[in-house]
């Protein structure tokens, strides 16, 4: 099946084409069947590729499929290559699998929308772009996917472009991403300048061979690449687009947050681990940015009242954990958390969508409540997802998050660990705050609650199962083996040589005990967060109000998201806009337009004059031939 891996990409693309050319004629049922079908088949092909890789020897699990030579100019050559190795195949599985469930969900969620076909066309294109990004065998193909993902996010966030906030949010996502992409593009150019190639294998082996650890050039490349990752994966300082992106349809949020788009940055950093490990500085930056984002976004999530926005900040925070893992050199763990996060975050969003759908568009959690009995499937799914993200044993999030904290403790010491643990505490708290406010207590909303259709329930159940047991593939304490780490180890084999070699060898038995105890600690942290939330929002609901009044300053800072949007607005947006206006008024309108109009006038005058030569008389034409012939001869002979 590896030979036919191109099918993974071709199928969603065929879906796009089918939706464009046939979707209008054949109707909605065709659109639903086609869109879900192609992504489902793509998932099946991914599974087949995965199984085939599993059947190989671990060292040989690396397969490159050359599809075509993209362009060729002198020594510069770019191939359209697909790369299938454990990392890309794992990503493919997550992307196509979760995307498939979201497609199915969307058929129910978007059923009444007039832009049904457009929606599914974009959705298929989004899946295709993300799969291209993941499967690309060189930086340029990766970049194509990277940009295409940005485009699709713009299209989908602004899907309801009649609403001004949605159109603005789409634009914001695009522009903020462009800032990161600029760094990323510079990084790629620097790679090409340094190594003369863009193929992953050649670049990485070249970096290992030619550059010592800590080389400035590699640090520069790694930091530029990471700048791209902060844009796409919503890290400080470029995270501001993501909360606004909630203006898109909810399944789109699920897709952006779980399967596509935001995970791109983490994937890219993991893919370039060979470059990052050569630069301790870049790794430290990744770790610090990740940690800061994790704690910072979680603190904002504590007080937001919009259901989807809380989830958005939680995504930013969880992505921070993934980068923290990468920053401490535990790339495989970062990818593991990416995988488990995909399950429970997709689930959280889909449940949020189901709730919003049931309440006819209401998103404010202070106006919900008491939905437990009315939406049982949603409630239980949300509970599982919340337990998973809080990190309660044995749900999926526990294994990955616990391992990130453990690796952090091991490699960066207790202080960093403690900050991470605080973030985890806040995560558990705000998640259960949501759960209690939305599903428990008394109903604070009016009107009928719509029951979700089957197409919405089915993906919820599937994802709930995955969120519950999906973490077991990485549970060394239970099985003695960490399947994900083992599977990914060929990709990250160079990492161990650089990052804190030897920590694991020293007294494995001792560490098992500590790892176990640390697991107990992190579960206790999660439980503490849950208990706090229970106390605040179920037992004595007046506590939050009192706290709010007591710490009014702090509350308003958190509630207004540290005023970062406002700060960016004054620092960057406004000066830029006024500068641009000045440029337009003075430089563009006067000088440039003047030059353009002037030269156009010149050309037109020349044209009017010279067309007079075209008299229409044959004798004049013949004369011009003779003159031409004589001129050629004269030029030659007289010179």
């Amino acid at each position: 099946m590896l030979e036919h891996a191109w099918l993974i990409l071709a199928l969603p693309l065929a879906g796009v084409a089918g939706n464009i050319f046939l979707g209008g004629r054949l109707g909605r049922r065709f659109v639903s069947a086609l869109s879900c079908g192609v992504v489902g088949l793509s998932f099946v092909v991914s599974v087949a590729c995965f199984l085939e890789l599993l059947a190989m020897q671990p060292a040989q699990r690396h397969f490159e499929r050359h599809i075509f030579t993209w362009f060729l100019s002198g020594s510069f050559k770019v191939e359209g290559t697909l790369l299938l190795d454990p990392l890309s195949v794992l990503m493919t599985l997550v992307v196509s699998g979760v995307a498939f469930l979201i497609h199915v969900y969307s058929t129910g969620y978007m059923a009444g929308d007039s832009g049904y076909r457009r929606y599914f066309t974009y959705l298929n294109l989004f899946t295709f772009s993300m799969l291209t990004l993941v499967l690309g065998g060189n930086f340029l193909v990766l970049y194509v996917g990277w940009e295409a993902v940005g485009l699709c996010s713009y299209l989908l966030i602004g899907f309801w472009f009649q609403k001004k906030p949605a159109a603005d949010a789409g634009r914001k996502a695009f522009i903020v991403n462009r800032i990161g992409d600029f760094g990323f593009a510079l990084g790629i150019l620097l790679i090409f300048r340094t190594f003369g190639t863009l193929e992953f294998g050649e670049v990485f082996s070249g970096a290992e061979r030619l550059f010592p650890s800590g080389s400035t050039l590699i640090t520069g490349i790694a930091l530029l690449l990471f700048a791209g990752a902060t844009g796409k994966s919503a890290q400080i300082p470029l995270y501001t687009w993501l909360p606004d992106a909630m203006e898109g349809p909810t399944p789109v949020s699920a897709l952006i947050h779980a399967a596509t788009m935001v995970t791109a940055g983490v994937y890219m950093v993991a893919r370039c681990s060979a470059l990052f490990v050569l630069s301790p500085l870049a790794l430290a930056v990744v770790a610090i940015v990740g940690l800061a984002t994790a704690v910072y976004a979680a603190s904002i999530g504590l007080v937001q009242n919009d259901l989807k926005r809380v989830l958005a900040y939680s995504t930013i925070s969880q992505l921070g954990y993934m980068f923290l893992a990468c920053g401490v050199g535990a790339f495989a763990v970062g990818i593991f958390h990416l995988m488990t996060h995909a399950f429970f975050k997709a689930l959280l969003f889909l449940v949020a969508g189901a709730v919003i759908h049931a309440l006819a568009g209401e998103q404010d959690i202070t106006k919900m409540g008491g939905l437990r009995s009315k939406l049982p499937v949603s409630y239980w799914s949300f509970l599982i997802a919340a337990l998973a993200i809080a990190g309660v044993f044995p749900f999926a999030g526990f294994f990955s998050k616990d391992e990130i904290l453990w690796e952090t403790l091991l490699r960066r010491g207790p202080l960093v660990w403690a900050l991470g643990a605080v973030g985890a505490l806040m995560t558990a708290f705000y998640m259960f705050r949501l759960l209690f406010l939305v599903f428990h207590g008394t109903a604070r909303h009016e009107g009928h609650v719509h029951a979700p259709p089957f197409s919405i329930k089915l993906p919820l159940v599937c994802l709930a199962v995955l969120s519950a047991v999906g973490g077991l593939v990485g549970a060394p304490l239970l099985f003695g083996r960490h399947f994900v780490k083992e599977f990914l180890s060929p990709v990250f084999r160079h990492v161990n040589g650089h990052v804190a070699a030897g920590t694991h060898e020293a007294g494995a038995g001792h560490f098992v005990v500590s790892e176990l105890s640390m697991a107990v600690v992190s579960v206790s942290i999660a439980v503490l967060g849950i208990v706090l939330a229970y106390r605040f929002y179920v037992i004595s609901p007046d506590v939050p109000q009192r706290l709010k009044e007591r710490f009014a300053r702090l509350y308003s800072i958190l509630f207004n998201k540290y005023y970062v949007d406002e700060i960016y607005d004054t620092l960057f947006v406004r000066p830029l806009v006024s500068f641009a206006t000045a440029l337009w008024r003075h430089v563009d309108a006067l000088i440039i337009d003047g030059a353009v109009n002037g030269s156009a006038f010149l050309v037109e005058t020349a044209s009017k004059v010279s067309r007079r030569l075209q008299t229409g008389g044959v004798q004049n034409y013949a004369l011009s031939i003779v003159v031409g012939a004589i001129a050629i001869l004269a030029f030659w002979l007289l010179r």
Partner: protein
């Protein structure tokens, strides 16, 4: 005295075209009144078959008819351009306003005869064959230009083309006689050898100059271009499309091949032929573009655009390297789709509107969005904006120019491309942003052949822009096989 031995195997594509031409004539005479469609199919099949056969024998290098007929990968590639153009022109012929009421039997056979003539011309290995090929191609072309005999402008086009064509043929012949007189042979290879030996620098240059003047008429190089706007405007539009690609290509190919034969001789005599070609190239680009700006007739505008494009093609020749010839071959293929495509849209619009003024294109997007979109693709490609094929063509041409340090040519090329955007934009603006004069007008009706043709040409214009590698590889290997790396 032994009879000249002929290897008919090498002549198969030409013979197929020739027999198709005669077959069309015969069927036209014998058939019933409803024979239009069958003649159309017959022409298409003949051209298609010839195309396949020419593509199959693509990598052959041989000569026959005592060396007067030469076949090599470069020539075969050029023949593919001819046959492909003739095929596409035939596909889009049925929608032509000027000739739709006429019997088309002779039209098809003339088109096939002209194609045959051009193919022979491209393969010619001696001066006589060049002249015969040229005349075999030109005479049908004169008639084709005036085929719509009920239309005054078409008559004017035919007559002007014929008079000036005859005039330039005379000049060409004059140059040839000089060359023969100097070298005592009509074979290009022998002439190339003996001009080096002759030491008569002035005479050689004079003879070649006269010859060049005759040839540049065919290529529509400024100042030998005066007939082009009048002839293109008056001719039936598919015929103009045919001229815009095939007759130019033929002249250019003859020039390329002659220069390849004469190169050693010119080197020995220290003749610098690139300078005069550079001047002609600049003139052609500038005049073709600048006069195009004030045109209001789309066909005339495209005629000027086609003149400007010859200027770009000449840049590749001025470079004087095999990479330059690569870029010409690439450009020819790219140009063929976008130029014939643009003319095809004009054909369709002109039938619905009864004219091809800019005003006739107003609001086309409302009436026939697909027609407008494909016209937009062709025009943007003609300008040379990525990701369309025209960009690839210009990219390789300008890259060669810069590599060979022909900076003036590259700069003029880029500047004229910018100016050309202006007049292509006039059409785009009319199609997309102007209200139609008659808002209730029905969509432009197109025949199935036209539809297939437009889809094909838009597809290739897009595809060659996005993925040019196969074309580039083909051009490079053809030139490498021909010139021996």
């Amino acid at each position: 005295m032994s009879f000249v031995s002929v290897d008919f195997g090498l002549l198969v594509p030409e013979l197929v075209v020739l027999s198709a031409a005669f077959l069309v004539l015969v069927v036209d005479l014998l058939g019933s009144r409803q024979r239009g469609a069958s003649l159309w199919w017959l022409t298409l099949c003949g051209l298609g078959l010839a195309l396949l056969l020419a593509a199959r024998g693509w990598n052959l290098s041989a000569s026959t008819l005592s060396g007067t007929f030469v076949l090599d990968p470069f020539v075969s590639t050029v023949k593919l351009v001819f046959l492909l153009s003739a095929f596409l022109v035939t596909l889009t012929t049925l929608d032509c306003r000027l000739i739709s009421r006429l019997s088309l039997g002779e039209y098809y056979s003339l088109l096939l005869f002209a194609t045959f003539g051009f193919m022979v011309l491209a393969s010619a290995g001696d001066l006589i064959m060049i002249f015969i090929g040229l005349e075999m191609a030109s005479i049908p072309c004169y008639i084709l230009a005036g085929y719509a005999f009920e239309d005054v402008k078409s008559n004017e086009a035919g007559i002007k083309y014929f008079l000036l064509g005859a005039f330039s043929s005379a000049i060409l012949l004059y140059g040839m006689s000089f060359l023969y007189g100097l070298c005592g042979s009509t074979f290009l290879s022998e002439i190339g050898f003996s001009i080096g030996q002759s030491g008569q620098k002035l005479l050689v240059m004079g003879a070649f100059g006269v010859f060049l003047a005759g040839l540049t008429f065919k290529m529509t190089v400024v100042p030998f271009h005066m007939w082009v706007p009048d002839t293109y405007e008056g001719s039936p539009t598919p015929v103009a499309a045919f001229f815009s690609v095939v007759s130019k290509t033929a002249g250019l190919v003859v020039l390329i091949r002659i220069l390849a034969y004469f190169k050693q001789g010119f080197l020995a005599l220290e003749v610098d032929w690139t300078q005069v070609l550079s001047i002609l190239s600049v003139l052609t680009m500038v005049v073709g573009t600048v006069i195009g700006v004030v045109q209001t007739n789309v066909k005339r505008l495209l005629a000027y655009s086609s003149i400007a494009h010859v200027g770009y093609l000449l840049i590749g020749l001025c470079a004087g390297t095999s990479a330059g010839i690569d870029s010409i071959v690439i450009y020819l293929f790219v140009y063929l789709f976008m130029s014939i495509g643009a003319f095809a849209v004009v054909t369709a619009v002109s039938r619905a509107e009864g004219g091809e003024e800019l005003a006739n294109f107003r609001g086309l997007n409302r009436r026939s969005p697909l027609l407008a979109a494909s016209m937009a693709v062709f025009l943007i490609s003609l300008t040379g904006i990525p990701p369309l094929a025209g960009f690839i063509g210009k990219f390789f041409i300008f890259a060669v120019a810069i590599e060979e340090k022909l900076y003036t040519l590259a700069i003029v090329g880029v500047l004229t491309s910018v100016v050309s955007l202006f007049y292509y934009c006039k059409i785009l603006k009319a199609m997309y942003f102007a209200e139609a004069e008659d808002p209730g007008a029905a969509p432009v009706a197109v025949s199935p052949g036209m539809r297939v043709g437009l889809v094909l040409m838009s597809f290739f214009t897009l595809a060659l822009g996005l993925y040019p590698v196969p074309l580039v590889e083909m051009a490079r290997s053809a030139v490498r096989l021909w010139l021996g790396s």
